[in-house]
Protein backbone atom coordinates (compact mmCIF):
# COMPACT_ATOMS: atom_id res chain seq x y z
CA UNK A 1 0.00 0.00 0.00
CA UNK A 2 2.84 2.42 0.79
CA UNK A 3 4.32 3.07 -2.62
CA UNK A 4 6.22 5.99 -4.07
CA UNK A 5 3.12 7.15 -5.93
CA UNK A 6 1.01 6.92 -2.79
CA UNK A 7 3.53 9.06 -0.90
CA UNK A 8 4.05 11.67 -3.59
CA UNK A 9 0.44 12.14 -4.67
CA UNK A 10 -0.84 15.69 -5.06
CA UNK A 11 -4.13 14.73 -3.49
CA UNK A 12 -3.53 12.83 -0.26
CA UNK A 13 -6.67 11.13 1.03
CA UNK A 14 -5.96 11.28 4.74
CA UNK A 15 -3.97 13.10 7.39
CA UNK A 16 -1.61 10.16 7.68
CA UNK A 17 -0.90 10.09 3.97
CA UNK A 18 -0.25 13.84 3.90
CA UNK A 19 2.19 13.57 6.80
CA UNK A 20 4.04 10.57 5.40
CA UNK A 21 4.19 12.26 2.01
CA UNK A 22 5.72 15.37 3.55
CA UNK A 23 8.28 13.30 5.46
CA UNK A 24 9.10 11.39 2.29
CA UNK A 25 9.72 14.63 0.38
CA UNK A 26 12.08 15.81 3.12
CA UNK A 27 13.86 12.47 2.89
CA UNK A 28 14.13 12.76 -0.89
CA UNK A 29 15.63 16.23 -0.65
CA UNK A 30 18.04 15.02 2.03
CA UNK A 31 18.96 12.02 -0.09
CA UNK A 32 19.86 14.17 -3.06
CA UNK A 33 22.59 15.78 -0.92
CA UNK A 34 25.51 13.36 -1.09
CA UNK A 35 27.51 14.77 1.84
CA UNK A 36 24.45 14.75 4.07
CA UNK A 37 23.98 11.09 3.21
CA UNK A 38 27.57 10.38 4.27
CA UNK A 39 26.72 11.99 7.60
CA UNK A 40 23.45 10.07 7.76
CA UNK A 41 25.18 6.72 7.23
CA UNK A 42 27.85 7.54 9.81
CA UNK A 43 25.14 8.22 12.40
CA UNK A 44 23.19 5.14 11.27
CA UNK A 45 26.37 3.07 11.66
CA UNK A 46 26.92 4.56 15.12
CA UNK A 47 23.43 3.53 16.15
CA UNK A 48 23.90 0.07 14.63
CA UNK A 49 27.21 -0.41 16.42
CA UNK A 50 25.71 0.73 19.73
CA UNK A 51 22.83 -1.72 19.41
CA UNK A 52 24.91 -4.70 18.29
CA UNK A 53 28.01 -3.94 20.41
CA UNK A 54 28.08 -7.36 22.16
CA UNK A 55 28.15 -9.14 18.77
CA UNK A 56 30.64 -6.79 17.12
CA UNK A 57 33.17 -6.42 19.92
CA UNK A 58 35.59 -9.38 19.96
CA UNK A 59 36.66 -8.88 23.60
CA UNK A 60 35.21 -7.69 26.87
CA UNK A 61 35.43 -3.87 27.07
CA UNK A 62 36.06 -3.76 30.80
CA UNK A 63 38.00 -6.86 31.76
CA UNK A 64 41.41 -6.92 30.08
CA UNK A 65 43.64 -9.79 29.07
CA UNK A 66 46.87 -10.94 30.71
CA UNK A 67 48.49 -7.87 32.25
CA UNK A 68 52.00 -9.29 31.69
CA UNK A 69 51.62 -10.16 28.02
CA UNK A 70 48.77 -8.14 26.51
CA UNK A 71 49.40 -4.56 27.63
CA UNK A 72 49.91 -1.79 25.06
CA UNK A 73 50.12 -4.07 22.02
CA UNK A 74 50.07 -2.19 18.72
CA UNK A 75 47.31 -2.61 16.16
CA UNK A 76 47.30 -6.13 14.69
CA UNK A 77 44.75 -8.63 13.35
CA UNK A 78 44.19 -9.89 16.91
CA UNK A 79 43.60 -6.39 18.26
CA UNK A 80 42.47 -4.13 15.43
CA UNK A 81 43.20 -0.97 17.38
CA UNK A 82 45.75 -2.40 19.79
CA UNK A 83 45.36 -2.69 23.56
CA UNK A 84 45.66 -0.18 26.38
CA UNK A 85 47.61 -0.16 29.63
CA UNK A 86 45.06 -2.43 31.29
CA UNK A 87 45.45 -4.97 28.45
CA UNK A 88 41.94 -4.20 27.21
CA UNK A 89 41.13 -4.40 23.50
CA UNK A 90 40.70 -0.79 22.32
CA UNK A 91 38.46 -1.76 19.39
CA UNK A 92 36.00 -3.42 21.79
CA UNK A 93 36.09 -0.39 24.05
CA UNK A 94 35.45 1.97 21.13
CA UNK A 95 32.52 -0.22 20.04
CA UNK A 96 30.97 -0.18 23.51
CA UNK A 97 31.83 3.51 23.81
CA UNK A 98 29.38 4.17 20.95
CA UNK A 99 26.61 3.39 23.47
CA UNK A 100 27.82 6.04 25.90
CA UNK A 101 28.28 8.55 23.11
CA UNK A 102 24.75 7.93 21.85
CA UNK A 103 23.42 8.18 25.40
CA UNK A 104 25.11 11.55 25.90
CA UNK A 105 23.94 12.87 22.55
CA UNK A 106 20.37 11.61 22.88
CA UNK A 107 19.82 12.74 26.46
CA UNK A 108 21.31 16.19 25.91
CA UNK A 109 19.09 16.62 22.84
CA UNK A 110 16.01 15.44 24.75
CA UNK A 111 16.67 17.71 27.75
CA UNK A 112 18.21 20.86 26.24
CA UNK A 113 16.12 21.25 23.07
CA UNK A 114 12.70 21.52 24.77
CA UNK A 115 14.03 23.92 27.43
CA UNK A 116 15.62 26.16 24.79
CA UNK A 117 12.53 26.04 22.56
CA UNK A 118 10.12 26.77 25.40
CA UNK A 119 12.13 29.69 26.79
CA UNK A 120 12.95 31.17 23.38
CA UNK A 121 9.49 30.95 21.81
CA UNK A 122 7.77 32.22 24.96
CA UNK A 123 10.13 35.19 25.23
CA UNK A 124 9.86 35.98 21.53
CA UNK A 125 6.10 35.58 21.30
CA UNK A 126 5.10 37.66 24.31
CA UNK A 127 7.85 40.27 24.12
CA UNK A 128 7.84 43.01 26.75
CA UNK A 129 8.87 42.15 30.29
CA UNK A 130 8.47 38.39 29.76
CA UNK A 131 11.12 38.68 27.06
CA UNK A 132 13.37 40.80 29.28
CA UNK A 133 13.20 38.42 32.25
CA UNK A 134 13.67 35.21 30.25
CA UNK A 135 16.45 36.60 28.10
CA UNK A 136 18.40 38.01 31.05
CA UNK A 137 18.26 34.56 32.68
CA UNK A 138 19.53 33.15 29.39
CA UNK A 139 22.28 35.76 29.34
CA UNK A 140 23.37 34.76 32.85
CA UNK A 141 23.71 31.16 31.71
CA UNK A 142 25.53 32.26 28.57
CA UNK A 143 27.95 34.43 30.54
CA UNK A 144 29.45 31.43 32.36
CA UNK A 145 32.12 29.51 30.51
CA UNK A 146 30.25 26.36 29.57
CA UNK A 147 32.70 23.83 30.95
CA UNK A 148 33.01 25.69 34.27
CA UNK A 149 29.24 25.76 34.74
CA UNK A 150 28.97 22.10 33.76
CA UNK A 151 31.78 21.44 36.23
CA UNK A 152 29.85 23.17 39.02
CA UNK A 153 26.68 21.24 38.22
CA UNK A 154 28.52 17.96 37.86
CA UNK A 155 30.26 18.42 41.19
CA UNK A 156 26.98 19.39 42.86
CA UNK A 157 25.17 16.37 41.41
CA UNK A 158 28.06 13.99 41.96
CA UNK A 159 30.34 12.28 39.45
CA UNK A 160 28.96 9.91 36.82
CA UNK A 161 28.01 9.98 33.18
CA UNK A 162 24.29 10.64 33.84
CA UNK A 163 25.03 13.68 35.97
CA UNK A 164 27.53 14.92 33.40
CA UNK A 165 24.76 14.67 30.79
CA UNK A 166 22.36 16.67 32.95
CA UNK A 167 25.07 19.26 33.57
CA UNK A 168 25.80 19.58 29.85
CA UNK A 169 22.10 19.82 29.03
CA UNK A 170 21.59 22.57 31.59
CA UNK A 171 24.44 24.56 30.11
CA UNK A 172 23.66 24.02 26.44
CA UNK A 173 20.07 25.30 26.18
CA UNK A 174 20.78 29.09 26.10
CA UNK A 175 21.95 29.19 22.44
CA UNK A 176 18.79 27.31 21.42
CA UNK A 177 16.66 29.78 23.36
CA UNK A 178 18.33 32.69 21.57
CA UNK A 179 17.87 31.01 18.20
CA UNK A 180 14.22 30.14 18.87
CA UNK A 181 13.55 33.69 20.06
CA UNK A 182 15.06 35.19 16.91
CA UNK A 183 12.96 32.88 14.72
CA UNK A 184 9.85 33.64 16.76
CA UNK A 185 10.32 37.38 16.31
CA UNK A 186 10.10 36.98 12.53
CA UNK A 187 7.18 34.55 12.74
CA UNK A 188 5.19 36.51 15.33
CA UNK A 189 3.98 39.25 13.00
CA UNK A 190 3.16 37.08 9.98
CA UNK A 191 -0.38 36.89 8.66
CA UNK A 192 -0.79 33.20 9.46
CA UNK A 193 -0.14 33.92 13.12
CA UNK A 194 -2.51 36.91 12.95
CA UNK A 195 -5.07 34.66 11.30
CA UNK A 196 -5.01 32.06 14.06
CA UNK A 197 -5.04 34.84 16.66
CA UNK A 198 -8.20 36.15 15.01
CA UNK A 199 -9.73 32.75 15.44
CA UNK A 200 -9.44 33.10 19.16
CA UNK A 201 -6.55 30.70 19.73
CA UNK A 202 -4.90 30.92 23.14
CA UNK A 203 -1.24 31.87 23.38
CA UNK A 204 -0.05 28.37 24.41
CA UNK A 205 -1.88 26.91 21.42
CA UNK A 206 -0.29 29.43 19.05
CA UNK A 207 3.19 28.93 20.50
CA UNK A 208 3.01 25.14 20.58
CA UNK A 209 1.04 24.50 17.40
CA UNK A 210 2.18 27.31 15.14
CA UNK A 211 5.44 28.87 16.27
CA UNK A 212 7.36 25.84 17.58
CA UNK A 213 7.00 23.75 14.38
CA UNK A 214 8.66 26.54 12.42
CA UNK A 215 11.47 27.06 14.94
CA UNK A 216 12.03 23.35 15.33
CA UNK A 217 13.94 22.80 12.10
CA UNK A 218 16.56 25.48 12.73
CA UNK A 219 16.94 24.36 16.35
CA UNK A 220 17.33 20.72 15.26
CA UNK A 221 20.01 21.80 12.80
CA UNK A 222 21.79 23.77 15.51
CA UNK A 223 21.58 20.83 17.96
CA UNK A 224 23.02 18.49 15.34
CA UNK A 225 25.88 20.87 14.65
CA UNK A 226 26.50 21.19 18.42
CA UNK A 227 26.70 17.44 18.93
CA UNK A 228 30.43 17.41 18.27
CA UNK A 229 30.93 20.01 21.00
CA UNK A 230 28.67 18.09 23.36
CA UNK A 231 30.67 14.89 22.90
CA UNK A 232 33.85 16.85 23.58
CA UNK A 233 32.40 18.53 26.69
CA UNK A 234 31.40 15.10 27.98
CA UNK A 235 34.95 13.94 27.27
CA UNK A 236 36.30 17.01 29.07
CA UNK A 237 34.20 16.28 32.16
CA UNK A 238 35.36 12.68 32.01
CA UNK A 239 38.95 13.89 31.81
CA UNK A 240 38.41 15.97 34.95
CA UNK A 241 36.98 12.95 36.74
CA UNK A 242 33.40 14.22 36.81
CA UNK A 243 32.02 12.41 33.77
CA UNK A 244 32.30 8.75 32.89
CA UNK A 245 33.99 6.82 35.68
CA UNK A 246 36.62 4.18 34.99
CA UNK A 247 36.37 1.53 33.74
CA UNK A 248 33.52 2.82 31.55
CA UNK A 249 34.68 2.88 27.93
CA UNK A 250 33.89 6.54 27.29
CA UNK A 251 35.83 7.94 24.34
CA UNK A 252 36.93 11.16 26.05
CA UNK A 253 38.04 9.32 29.18
CA UNK A 254 39.95 6.86 26.96
CA UNK A 255 41.85 9.73 25.35
CA UNK A 256 42.61 11.14 28.79
CA UNK A 257 43.96 7.75 29.88
CA UNK A 258 46.11 7.46 26.75
CA UNK A 259 47.56 10.92 27.21
CA UNK A 260 50.26 9.58 29.57
CA UNK A 261 51.97 7.51 26.90
CA UNK A 262 50.95 9.26 23.71
CA UNK A 263 54.57 9.44 22.45
CA UNK A 264 55.39 5.74 22.76
CA UNK A 265 51.96 4.13 22.32
CA UNK A 266 50.14 6.52 20.03
CA UNK A 267 47.19 4.25 19.28
CA UNK A 268 45.78 4.35 22.82
CA UNK A 269 44.72 7.99 22.52
CA UNK A 270 44.42 8.11 18.72
CA UNK A 271 41.82 5.38 18.17
CA UNK A 272 39.06 6.90 20.34
CA UNK A 273 40.11 10.28 18.93
CA UNK A 274 39.42 9.03 15.42
CA UNK A 275 36.04 7.72 16.59
CA UNK A 276 35.12 11.14 18.06
CA UNK A 277 36.33 12.81 14.87
CA UNK A 278 34.24 10.58 12.59
CA UNK A 279 31.09 10.89 14.67
CA UNK A 280 31.48 14.67 14.99
CA UNK A 281 31.99 14.90 11.23
CA UNK A 282 28.92 12.74 10.69
CA UNK A 283 26.75 14.99 12.85
CA UNK A 284 28.08 18.12 11.15
CA UNK A 285 27.43 16.79 7.64
CA UNK A 286 23.96 15.60 8.61
CA UNK A 287 23.18 18.93 10.30
CA UNK A 288 24.24 20.84 7.22
CA UNK A 289 22.06 18.67 4.99
CA UNK A 290 19.11 18.93 7.36
CA UNK A 291 19.34 22.70 7.22
CA UNK A 292 18.64 22.58 3.50
CA UNK A 293 16.05 19.80 3.66
CA UNK A 294 14.03 21.23 6.56
CA UNK A 295 13.99 24.88 5.54
CA UNK A 296 10.28 25.68 5.11
CA UNK A 297 11.05 28.81 3.12
CA UNK A 298 13.48 27.25 0.71
CA UNK A 299 11.12 24.51 -0.49
CA UNK A 300 8.66 25.01 -3.29
Amino acid sequence: MISREWLLTDQPGSRRQARYGQAFRTWLSLRSNRLAMVGFWIIAALIGIAIFAPWIAPYDPVVGGDLRLDRLIGPSWDHLMGTDDQARDIFSRVVYGARLTLLVVALVAVIATPIGLAVGTTAGYFGGWVDVVLMRITDIFLAFPRLILALAFASALGPGIENAIIAIAITSWPPYARLARAETLTIRETDYINAIRLQGASSPRIIWGHVVPLCLSSVIVRVTLDMAGIILTAAGLGFLGLGAQPPQPEWGAMIAAGRRFIIDFWWVATMPGIAIFIVSLGFNLLGDGLRDALDPKGRK
Binding site: Q11, G13, Q22, Y192, N194, L198, G200, A201, S202, H210
Partner: protein
Protein backbone atom coordinates in the same frame (compact mmCIF):
# COMPACT_ATOMS: atom_id res chain seq x y z
CA UNK B 1 -29.77 49.76 12.14
CA UNK B 2 -26.05 49.97 11.71
CA UNK B 3 -24.15 46.76 12.41
CA UNK B 4 -20.76 48.45 12.61
CA UNK B 5 -20.35 51.98 13.86
CA UNK B 6 -16.94 53.57 13.86
CA UNK B 7 -16.60 57.07 15.19
CA UNK B 8 -13.52 59.30 15.36
CA UNK B 9 -11.14 56.33 15.17
CA UNK B 10 -7.49 57.11 15.85
CA UNK B 11 -4.69 54.57 15.53
CA UNK B 12 -1.22 55.65 16.60
CA UNK B 13 1.81 53.36 16.50
CA UNK B 14 5.00 53.79 18.47
CA UNK B 15 5.58 55.71 21.65
CA UNK B 16 7.13 58.95 22.91
CA UNK B 17 9.04 60.84 20.25
CA UNK B 18 8.52 58.65 17.21
CA UNK B 19 4.82 58.10 16.85
CA UNK B 20 3.06 57.46 13.58
CA UNK B 21 -0.58 58.43 13.35
CA UNK B 22 -1.76 55.81 10.87
CA UNK B 23 -5.46 56.64 11.15
CA UNK B 24 -6.85 59.99 12.24
CA UNK B 25 -10.45 60.77 13.04
CA UNK B 26 -12.12 58.27 10.73
CA UNK B 27 -15.85 57.64 11.09
CA UNK B 28 -18.25 55.49 9.13
CA UNK B 29 -21.21 53.18 9.59
CA UNK B 30 -21.96 49.91 7.88
CA UNK B 31 -25.46 48.46 7.78
CA UNK B 32 -26.13 44.73 8.18
CA UNK B 33 -25.79 42.90 4.87
CA UNK B 34 -24.02 45.78 3.22
CA UNK B 35 -20.67 45.73 1.44
CA UNK B 36 -18.61 48.76 2.34
CA UNK B 37 -15.42 49.69 0.55
CA UNK B 38 -12.39 51.59 1.75
CA UNK B 39 -10.17 52.94 -1.02
CA UNK B 40 -6.86 54.71 -0.90
CA UNK B 41 -3.24 54.61 -1.93
CA UNK B 42 -0.56 52.61 -0.11
CA UNK B 43 0.00 53.98 3.38
CA UNK B 44 -3.35 55.72 3.53
CA UNK B 45 -4.30 53.73 6.64
CA UNK B 46 -7.07 51.71 5.03
CA UNK B 47 -5.76 48.31 6.14
CA UNK B 48 -5.03 49.71 9.58
CA UNK B 49 -8.72 50.46 10.02
CA UNK B 50 -9.48 46.75 9.50
CA UNK B 51 -6.68 45.72 11.83
CA UNK B 52 -7.97 48.11 14.49
CA UNK B 53 -11.43 46.56 14.24
CA UNK B 54 -10.11 43.06 14.86
CA UNK B 55 -7.64 44.07 17.54
CA UNK B 56 -4.38 43.70 15.61
CA UNK B 57 -3.70 47.45 15.74
CA UNK B 58 -4.04 49.61 18.86
CA UNK B 59 -7.10 51.85 19.03
CA UNK B 60 -5.83 55.08 20.58
CA UNK B 61 -8.95 57.16 20.20
CA UNK B 62 -12.59 56.96 19.18
CA UNK B 63 -14.91 53.99 19.45
CA UNK B 64 -15.78 50.91 17.45
CA UNK B 65 -19.23 49.46 18.08
CA UNK B 66 -20.66 46.25 16.72
CA UNK B 67 -24.38 45.75 17.24
CA UNK B 68 -24.26 48.89 19.38
CA UNK B 69 -21.80 47.28 21.81
CA UNK B 70 -18.33 48.83 22.19
CA UNK B 71 -15.60 46.24 21.61
CA UNK B 72 -13.62 44.87 24.51
CA UNK B 73 -9.84 44.82 24.45
CA UNK B 74 -8.62 42.12 24.13
CA UNK B 75 -11.44 40.83 21.96
CA UNK B 76 -13.41 37.90 23.36
CA UNK B 77 -14.24 34.57 21.75
CA UNK B 78 -17.71 35.80 20.80
CA UNK B 79 -16.16 38.58 18.71
CA UNK B 80 -14.07 36.12 16.70
CA UNK B 81 -17.17 34.10 15.92
CA UNK B 82 -18.90 37.15 14.52
CA UNK B 83 -16.00 38.89 12.77
CA UNK B 84 -13.37 37.23 10.60
CA UNK B 85 -10.74 38.55 8.25
CA UNK B 86 -9.22 37.54 4.91
CA UNK B 87 -5.67 38.76 4.42
CA UNK B 88 -4.06 40.32 1.41
CA UNK B 89 -1.29 37.88 0.59
CA UNK B 90 -2.45 34.26 0.36
CA UNK B 91 1.19 33.19 0.25
CA UNK B 92 1.75 34.62 3.74
CA UNK B 93 -1.58 33.91 5.41
CA UNK B 94 -1.43 30.09 5.49
CA UNK B 95 0.91 28.28 7.86
CA UNK B 96 3.55 26.57 5.69
CA UNK B 97 3.55 23.40 7.81
CA UNK B 98 -0.21 22.89 8.19
CA UNK B 99 -2.45 21.03 5.78
CA UNK B 100 -5.69 22.61 4.58
CA UNK B 101 -7.44 20.13 6.86
CA UNK B 102 -5.56 21.37 9.92
CA UNK B 103 -6.13 25.02 8.97
CA UNK B 104 -9.89 24.42 8.86
CA UNK B 105 -10.09 22.06 11.83
CA UNK B 106 -8.29 24.33 14.28
CA UNK B 107 -10.90 27.12 14.59
CA UNK B 108 -13.58 24.44 15.01
CA UNK B 109 -11.56 22.86 17.83
CA UNK B 110 -10.96 26.22 19.52
CA UNK B 111 -14.64 27.11 19.58
CA UNK B 112 -15.84 23.59 20.29
CA UNK B 113 -17.96 23.10 17.18
CA UNK B 114 -19.50 19.67 16.75
CA UNK B 115 -19.24 17.49 13.61
CA UNK B 116 -16.00 19.04 12.38
CA UNK B 117 -15.74 16.41 9.65
CA UNK B 118 -18.84 17.51 7.72
CA UNK B 119 -18.18 21.20 8.35
CA UNK B 120 -14.72 20.97 6.81
CA UNK B 121 -16.02 19.14 3.74
CA UNK B 122 -18.83 21.69 3.43
CA UNK B 123 -16.50 24.68 3.82
CA UNK B 124 -14.25 23.35 1.05
CA UNK B 125 -17.22 22.73 -1.21
CA UNK B 126 -18.54 26.24 -0.53
CA UNK B 127 -15.39 27.89 -1.82
CA UNK B 128 -15.22 25.60 -4.84
CA UNK B 129 -12.44 23.29 -3.68
CA UNK B 130 -13.03 19.56 -3.86
CA UNK B 131 -12.14 16.82 -1.42
CA UNK B 132 -8.80 16.37 -3.18
CA UNK B 133 -7.51 19.60 -1.66
CA UNK B 134 -8.23 18.73 1.94
CA UNK B 135 -4.92 17.16 2.88
CA UNK B 136 -2.65 19.34 0.80
CA UNK B 137 -0.01 21.67 2.15
CA UNK B 138 -0.02 25.33 1.06
CA UNK B 139 3.00 24.78 -1.17
CA UNK B 140 0.89 22.36 -3.19
CA UNK B 141 -1.71 25.05 -3.93
CA UNK B 142 -1.83 27.96 -6.38
CA UNK B 143 -2.40 31.54 -5.23
CA UNK B 144 -6.11 31.47 -6.07
CA UNK B 145 -6.57 28.12 -4.32
CA UNK B 146 -4.77 29.46 -1.26
CA UNK B 147 -7.03 32.47 -1.12
CA UNK B 148 -10.05 30.16 -1.36
CA UNK B 149 -8.68 28.23 1.61
CA UNK B 150 -8.24 31.51 3.48
CA UNK B 151 -11.85 32.43 2.72
CA UNK B 152 -13.01 28.99 3.84
CA UNK B 153 -11.04 29.42 7.07
CA UNK B 154 -12.67 32.80 7.69
CA UNK B 155 -16.15 31.44 7.00
CA UNK B 156 -15.92 28.17 8.91
CA UNK B 157 -16.87 29.87 12.19
CA UNK B 158 -19.98 31.22 10.42
CA UNK B 159 -19.25 34.89 11.11
CA UNK B 160 -21.65 37.69 10.21
CA UNK B 161 -18.95 40.19 9.29
CA UNK B 162 -16.05 39.57 6.94
CA UNK B 163 -13.15 42.00 6.79
CA UNK B 164 -11.41 41.75 3.41
CA UNK B 165 -7.94 43.26 3.22
CA UNK B 166 -7.20 43.55 -0.51
CA UNK B 167 -8.24 39.95 -1.02
CA UNK B 168 -7.42 39.89 -4.71
CA UNK B 169 -4.47 42.22 -5.14
CA UNK B 170 -1.92 39.38 -5.00
CA UNK B 171 -3.76 37.37 -7.66
CA UNK B 172 -3.69 37.68 -11.42
CA UNK B 173 -6.61 39.15 -13.30
CA UNK B 174 -8.59 36.02 -14.23
CA UNK B 175 -8.26 34.58 -10.72
CA UNK B 176 -9.24 37.95 -9.25
CA UNK B 177 -12.59 37.79 -11.01
CA UNK B 178 -13.17 34.22 -9.77
CA UNK B 179 -12.45 35.13 -6.18
CA UNK B 180 -14.58 38.29 -6.35
CA UNK B 181 -17.50 36.34 -7.78
CA UNK B 182 -17.05 33.76 -5.04
CA UNK B 183 -17.16 36.49 -2.38
CA UNK B 184 -20.22 38.03 -4.02
CA UNK B 185 -22.03 34.68 -4.07
CA UNK B 186 -21.15 33.90 -0.46
CA UNK B 187 -22.42 37.29 0.66
CA UNK B 188 -25.79 36.87 -0.99
CA UNK B 189 -26.12 33.25 0.18
CA UNK B 190 -25.27 33.94 3.80
CA UNK B 191 -26.28 37.58 4.26
CA UNK B 192 -22.75 38.57 5.21
CA UNK B 193 -21.57 42.09 5.85
CA UNK B 194 -18.30 43.02 4.14
CA UNK B 195 -15.76 45.72 4.70
CA UNK B 196 -13.51 45.56 1.67
CA UNK B 197 -10.23 47.41 1.54
CA UNK B 198 -8.67 47.93 -1.87
CA UNK B 199 -6.59 50.30 -3.91
CA UNK B 200 -8.53 49.20 -6.98
CA UNK B 201 -11.61 51.32 -7.65
CA UNK B 202 -12.93 48.82 -10.17
CA UNK B 203 -12.97 46.05 -7.54
CA UNK B 204 -14.71 48.29 -5.02
CA UNK B 205 -17.23 49.54 -7.59
CA UNK B 206 -18.03 45.91 -8.46
CA UNK B 207 -18.40 44.72 -4.87
CA UNK B 208 -19.58 47.59 -2.70
CA UNK B 209 -22.69 49.76 -2.37
CA UNK B 210 -20.84 52.51 -0.55
CA UNK B 211 -17.21 53.44 -0.15
CA UNK B 212 -14.87 55.64 1.81
CA UNK B 213 -11.87 57.30 0.22
CA UNK B 214 -8.86 57.72 2.50
CA UNK B 215 -5.57 59.56 2.17
CA UNK B 216 -2.80 60.05 4.74
CA UNK B 217 -4.90 58.37 7.44
CA UNK B 218 -7.83 60.75 7.02
CA UNK B 219 -11.20 60.50 5.37
CA UNK B 220 -11.37 62.25 2.02
CA UNK B 221 -15.00 61.55 1.23
CA UNK B 222 -17.76 58.97 1.30
CA UNK B 223 -19.44 57.97 -1.95
CA UNK B 224 -22.20 55.64 -3.08
CA UNK B 225 -21.71 53.26 -5.94
CA UNK B 226 -23.99 55.37 -8.15
CA UNK B 227 -21.92 58.46 -7.45
CA UNK B 228 -18.75 56.55 -8.22
CA UNK B 229 -20.09 55.18 -11.48
CA UNK B 230 -21.47 58.61 -12.44
CA UNK B 231 -18.04 60.06 -11.60
CA UNK B 232 -19.68 62.58 -9.30
CA UNK B 233 -16.81 62.91 -6.86
CA UNK B 234 -16.49 66.14 -4.89
CA UNK B 235 -12.85 66.00 -3.85
CA UNK B 236 -9.93 66.49 -6.25
CA UNK B 237 -8.12 63.47 -4.76
CA UNK B 238 -11.05 61.18 -5.57
CA UNK B 239 -11.20 62.55 -9.09
CA UNK B 240 -7.49 61.86 -9.47
CA UNK B 241 -8.10 58.29 -8.33
CA UNK B 242 -10.92 57.95 -10.86
CA UNK B 243 -8.65 59.12 -13.65
CA UNK B 244 -5.92 56.78 -12.48
CA UNK B 245 -8.36 53.83 -12.46
CA UNK B 246 -8.95 54.27 -16.20
CA UNK B 247 -5.43 53.08 -16.65
CA UNK B 248 -2.78 54.79 -18.68
CA UNK B 249 -4.37 56.89 -21.35
CA UNK B 250 -1.72 58.36 -23.54
CA UNK B 251 -2.17 61.86 -24.79
CA UNK B 252 -3.00 61.71 -28.44
CA UNK B 253 -0.09 63.38 -30.14
CA UNK B 254 -1.28 66.40 -32.02
CA UNK B 255 0.49 67.27 -35.16
CA UNK B 256 1.86 70.72 -34.86
CA UNK B 257 1.99 72.69 -38.01
CA UNK B 258 5.55 73.19 -38.91
Amino acid sequence: MNLIEISNLDVTFGSFANTVAAVRDVSFNVAAGEAFGIVGESGSGKSTVLRAICGLAPVTGGTIRIDGQPLKTPRDAGFYRRVQMVFQDPYASLHPRHTVDRVLAEPLAIHGFANAETRIEQALADVGLGHGFRFRYPHQLSGGQRQRVAIARALILEPKILLLDEPTSALDASIQAEVLNLLDRLRSERGLTYILVSHDLAVVAHMCERLLVMQHGRTVEELTRAELQGRRAQQPYTRALLVASQGYVGQTPTLEKA
